[in-house]
Symmetry: C2
């Protein structure tokens, strides 16, 4: 699936399964443990392409584990983000699943402010350009956040 198809109807079940499968593979390769909790939280995040907040996630998770606490979610998010399986959207304090975790990627996140769907678009040239600019002034870049808000084609 190409990323720019996400805003259109697609077989989401397949999409979700693929994300989980890739996650399994990545965690094996990295030698880290995608435990039941972590995998389930990833599944909840990837159950749609909408950015989801930690406490929304907690509410969902509590359906199956009524006494779950915020820290359960945040710990799982920490793990998933570190593993590159989830991204935080800073401008929303919310999270999305990464659909291209298997390959290194430099992306912009497009966020529809209407439907909250968010997806990544490759922006390697933009990264390149910004890194070059910053090096010119001797700024040593480590991480880059690019978030574009607007309206997706379905909501415009």
């Amino acid at each position: 699936m190409h990323n720019d198809e996400l805003q259109h109807p697609h077989n989401h079940q397949a999409c979700l399964e693929q994300a989980l499968h890739i996650a399994d593979t990545i965690c094996v390769k990295k030698g880290v443990r995608l435990t039941t909790i972590r995998r389930r939280i990833l599944e909840l995040i990837c159950s749609s392409h909408k950015a989801i907040g930690a406490y929304e996630l907690l509410d969902l998770f509590r359906v199956e584990d009524a006494k779950a606490k915020p820290v359960t979610i945040y710990r799982a998010l920490d793990f998933l983000i570190t593993a590159g399986l989830v991204h935080k959207i800073e401008s929303l304090n919310a999270f999305i699943g990464c659909l291209q975790a298997e390959k290194q990627h430099q992306s912009v996140i497009l966020i529809c402010d209407q439907c909250k769907n968010a997806y990544e678009l490759n922006a390697a040239p933009v990264y390149e350009s910004l890194f070059t600019m910053s090096k010119k002034i001797q700024f040593k870049p480590t991480s880059l956040t690019i978030e574009l808000h607007g309206l997706c084609v379905a909501c415009a």
Copy 2:
């Protein structure tokens, strides 16, 4: 002053005064009121180039108004951001003064994770590129956040 001089020593008093002067001008032009509180909070923000949090700001403001409340700060920040005089750094939940509020600008914010100094660099071509990309997939962009973390020349 050019923006890329900010990471170097400069006459900060002049820098601060200029920011306040520009703020006065802009608010007159826009027909909005830069009240005592708002101007003072802008002054506190611009007193350095370090990103500052709302509650840090509150602590500073309380030196002169012991019973100030969070909402005082957030209301002022709201006003200042709307007027284009202050930017929020989403990845830090912190704020910086804008030094080019008088002209329309499309910038990336460079954030030194060591000293917390943050400043804007023109990134119009990057905006252009991202807008073009997004239009290709019929995404209607409204606002763009670009934040580059790293180490400034002084801290590297």
